[in-house]
């Protein structure tokens, strides 16, 4: 489904790392700037803007998250497909 926005496993590692670093970095920058300028509103404005930017980077499925697509194994033919025509042949032989 296109609206599921899938990413592969290597991409998940990258997304988690970027989200952790981004959140903590913007929190520290916001607190330091707000403390030096003595303005608490500025701290939370910087933090909110930083969260928005990090969400833009992490949440949508950009192409650098899909660099290692999952290698699915080839599908295996089950034995039932081979047995079915043999059973119907046996039934046809008995009925006639």
């Amino acid at each position: 489904m296109w609206f599921e926005w899938k990413i592969d496993f290597e991409g998940q590692k990258r997304a988690e790392l970027i989200s952790q670093v981004g959140i903590i970095l913007f929190a520290v920058i916001g607190f330091v700037v707000g403390f030096l300028l003595q303005n608490l509103l500025l701290t939370f404005q910087i933090f909110g803007g930083g969260i928005f930017i990090t969400a833009l980077i992490v949440l949508p499925p950009w192409s650098f998250y899909n660099q290692h697509p999952i290698q699915w194994l080839p599908s295996v033919q089950s034995d039932q497909d081979k047995h079915e025509p043999e059973e119907s042949d046996e039934l046809k032989e008995k009925s006639t």
């Binding site: 609206f3 599921e4 926005w5 899938k6 990413i7 592969d8 496993f9 998940q12 997304a15 988690e16 989200s19 952790q20 959140i23 903590i24 929190a27 916001g30 607190f31 707000g34 403390f35 300028l37 003595q38 303005n39 608490l40 701290t43 939370f44 933090f47 969260i51 990090t54 969400a55 992490v58 949440l59 499925p61």
Partner: protein, 180 residues
């Protein structure tokens, strides 16, 4: 984390937790500044008068002593204002002890400071804003201690309390008796 729905929820949960840590650190860094004392603190009681009035809400309509206190207040609260302060609530209380009731505290006058530009308070010869009467019918001439106190209300964190407790900032004055 492979679809959008499983990425949004941990992301915003972590953001909320870090927001909580920011609030915690602003409170921690603010404790030193809000426990300071105001730089100028002059408080004087110049006159007390006691009159007898009747209090309309009682059934027996007996007369009761009402006290009128004239005060001079001069204080500077600019050193208590930090980036985490929302308001400072300043009040004047009187404390006294009677034989029947051990601790009595009555608030006489209050004001709220919200901006740092108005943090210098000057009020000369003000009467008490709120009425001053005892729970029994009269004061009986006890000694009352008049103290200036303040509450610092922060944007994030705990409310801090302070009062002018040094001997030169308190004021002890006895309630005058009525000669009947």
């Amino acid at each position: 984390m492979y679809i959008i729905f499983r990425r949004i929820i941990p992301f915003f949960t972590r953001a909320l937790l870090v927001c909580l840590f920011i609030s915690f650190f602003t409170t921690i860094f603010d404790i030193y500044y809000s426990t300071k004392s105001p730089s100028i603190l002059n408080f004087k009681v110049t006159n007390i008068k006691v009159w007898l009035y009747d209090f309309e809400e009682t059934e027996d309509k007996s007369l009761r002593e009402f006290a009128f206190v004239t005060m001079d207040i001069d204080a500077d609260f600019t050193s208590l204002f930090t980036f985490n302060t929302q308001a400072i609530f300043v009040s004047v209380i009187v404390e006294y002890e009677t034989p029947t009731h051990k601790r009595n505290q009555i608030i006489l006058w209050s004001t709220t400071i919200t901006k740092i530009s108005t943090s210098r308070i000057k009020s000369y010869q003000t009467l008490n804003k709120y009425s001053l009467y005892d729970i029994t019918q009269s004061f009986n001439g006890v000694n009352g201690t008049y103290i200036l106190e303040w509450n610092v209300i922060p944007k994030v964190g705990m409310i801090k309390y302070g009062r002018a407790d040094s001997d030169d900032a308190k004021f002890i004055y006895a309630f005058p008796r009525i000669n009947t």
